[in-house]
Subunit: 470 residues, 2 copies
């Protein structure tokens, strides 16, 4: 494609996206397709000769878009948000066009130096102390794995990289902790048997005394406690582990504390919502995802550590072909995480933070939190429903419970209920299990979600309840 | 930003990028900035209020672009290519705009099903047998780590995820293997001491007999050989490990064989260049990067395995909040790699393969290989230079050697020589070390690199030699 064609199709694509943004509510949030239906449209073999862009763009609209799940739909209330913004999309366009591979300073000085700056902006915005240094990673899963690896190195006196794990190491997380912790524990070679799930309280938050007891038991049994992962906002119910009390336990036993605030972290930008951050100043590492709630398109994870030296010692490699004259003066982010290659992701953060300002992000978060509280009030006022966990930030856990049913019946009822809600196409919610109780989650966080969408969701919920209850 | 502003700035950005593509040769490949110079331009604190896009876009042009290393410059002959194309950039724009998070089938059915299809297209294009199944990963580093983890699980009978590594496992790679192998060996908990670097021959290719001997020694000493990583195109010199002979050794001792063809893999699309693939049909896993030489912007790594079940068993997690009704009928790619979150990267591959067709990619690769051979001929004809490794595909390893100098003097001479070459700004080359010999690498692979750019590089090389030699 020559430059003139790029201009032509670029303008067409921009206009198509603008129309998509304007009309997104006309799509069902989740496409109505069956497994295997979409792949049939695509030829089994690649084309020998190139095809015109008109054909490809046509097929994009007729074959691809009907199979997209619309995460940017204002009725997206499932899982967690992947909150996007036009500014972020435009920055991603520039990043793709520049096509720089930012593994080290020399391979794009501005990518390294802008990353350093915007990560410090983020640090200030969420109220982390100056002792923290940030780096962009792809996902919170990867950042948590990174923390587990650094903790492993620290616990073994830098011997695990060299010799593998020869000590009996232990990792701790609340029973509600994210699946990425188990995955990371396996990858890092701790072994799943060495991940202890610490009991949680009625609000699904880790009980610090139980953590301390587990550590004491392990020490007595000859294990070495290596890492505690605390959740600021568990995935299932946005439960807030008490980081301050957990940090005190970690300090006492010299255990690495990693705090996972993947979704909730953005709310720390709002001073009156920031209470949950208490104690994070004592953590060793902290992660949150601007690509969840902070208007930045996936992927963009913000990972902060107190001791970058320890992080670098964990990952540093220094082959001759990557050495440069500037190595001693600059940050080579290849040594701050797992992959060698890196996109210029700081650019979209810079666009987003400058476009919205701290105020703009605060206003959005406050509105989502207000809307979630509103929805929770409606649920509470209708006796057919029950709230399943303390309502934190923009997540509401609820279910239908007309009384007189056992857990099995309630599960079946709510499975049907959720299916009915989602069949409308205007909203999409997902479920979890809280202490064995089937629970529906309403998670707000899309830039486009307004009060009318939450009202609509409430109407759909009520109507589905009317239909499903005798 | 409202939709009309998105349209306005979208068109502006597209036009800016089109101009950038047209004028890229006017930029020095590597910006002339000193460490710390760029970051000074950016305020130390984030803005409280949002700023107009006009200001941000102005600062992008005046503060960001001057600090970019131009990987898409036709004079990019450093490291490896990060070959981009307008089609891929446009697809990335759509991916960003759709903003779907494709962790599982339900969260975007078309992302999962198109990935399945285009990965099979790629498989056919590079001549891997039907027994291979593909998945997109972010980088070859991550894919190689994935292979090391799957091999670990296989070698321990699925016990290492559960218990950590209790056996004495060993990993093998040639002395020229990529640094990501050492990094992966550390992360996966093998321990660097358990990575054996196998001697290489005069062409820097792994010696299969030496591999067999190392395995025999390890078995005798009570180690369990778990994984061999063979390079199809080593980073330093594009050395080709003899995969067929290595595969025979791996089969004999039942050791996982992972083949890393990160850069070179794209050349397998060209039948007459495909010889190096001999034996890959016997490998357990294979990786190459469409984001290196196949016109696809970073990141897009193609990872192929013979046994997806083993891969999934290594990474599978199944928390309640990620369960869906379709799980048994679909591919949930979250279980095919390390991160949970995934971008819709199949879209850009689909755009690229359809736009260029097999023919288009073949033509580009053939031209780059022809140009590298041409440059190598010029080097050979000038007695001041020497070729440092067999010229493979589009990589030429050379240095200045006027005779009568020891290695130390030659290193110093060539460091200055390389600095002089790069100071022109029209080309950018990097160095490596081959058996202790300082070596300059000319690596071709940008879509925009034509014969005139390679001629220009040769002129610059000659001129620098004239200036530096007495």
């Amino acid at each position: 494609m020559d430059t003139e064609s790029f201009r032509k199709y670029g303008h067409e694509f921009i206009d198509w996206l603008a129309d998509y943004f304007e009309n997104i509510e006309k799509y069902p949030v989740v496409p109505r397709v069956q497994p295997g239906e979409i792949i049939k449209q695509f030829p089994v073999s690649p084309p020998h000769s190139g095809e015109p862009m008109d054909d490809i763009f046509r097929d994009f609209q007729t074959q691809v878009v009907p199979g997209i799940t619309h995460w940017q739909h204002p009725g997206w209330m499932a899982y967690f948000p992947a909150n996007n913004s036009p500014e972020s999309v435009l920055a991603e366009l520039l990043t793709a066009g520049l096509g720089a591979q930012c593994m080290i300073w020399q391979t794009s000085p501005v990518a390294a130096e802008l990353e350093e700056r915007v990560m410090d902006w983020l640090r200030q915005m969420i109220g982390l102390p100056e002792t923290f240094t940030g780096v962009i990673q792809d996902t919170a899963s990867t950042a948590t794995l990174t923390a587990l690896l650094t903790a492993r190195e620290k616990a073994t006196g830098l011997q695990s990289n060299l010799k593998g794990i020869e000590k009996k190491l232990r990792v701790y997380a609340g029973t509600e902790a994210h699946s990425s912790i188990e995955k990371g524990v396996k990858i890092a070679g701790y072994g799943k048997e060495n991940l202890r799930m610490i009991p949680t309280d009625d609000a699904f938050a880790m009980i610090p005394e139980a953590l301390q007891q587990a550590i004491e038991e392990d020490l007595a049994a000859g294990y070495q406690p290596a890492c505690v992962v605390a959740a600021i906002g568990s995935t299932s119910s946005m439960a807030m582990d008490p980081v301050d009390a957990i940090a005190a336990v970690c300090k006492k036993y010299n255990v690495w504390l990693h705090v996972d605030a993947a979704f909730a972290g953005t709310a720390a930008v709002v001073p009156e919502l920031r209470d949950f951050m208490k104690g994070t100043e004592l953590a060793d590492s902290f992660v949150f995802n601007p690509h969840k709630w902070m208007l930045t398109n996936f992927d963009c994870t913000a990972y902060f550590v107190q001791d970058p030296g320890m992080l670098i010692q964990t990952f540093e490699i220094h082959p001759e072909y990557l050495k440069t004259a500037a190595d001693k003066q600059v940050k080579n982010y290849r040594d701050w995480g797992i992959p060698l290659g890196r996109r210029f992701r700081a650019l979209k953060l810079w666009f987003v933070i400058r476009s919205y300002g701290i105020e703009g992000i605060q206003a959005m978060v406050r509105e989502h939190v207000r809307l979630a509280a509103l929805f929770a009030d409606w649920i509470r006022e209708d006796k057919r429903f029950e709230i399943m966990a303390p309502v934190q930030l923009s997540l509401v856990c609820f279910r239908l419970n007309p009384g007189g049913m056992n857990e099995e019946q309630l599960t079946q009822l709510n499975q049907e209920f959720l299916q009915k809600i989602n069949s409308h196409g205007d909203v999409f919610m997902t479920h979890t299990s809280l202490r064995g109780k089937y629970t529906i989650r309403l998670a707000l966080g899309s830039r486009t979600t307004q009060e009318r969408h939450v009202k609509k969701a409430w109407e759909i919920v009520q109507q589905a309840a009317d239909e499903i209850l005798p």
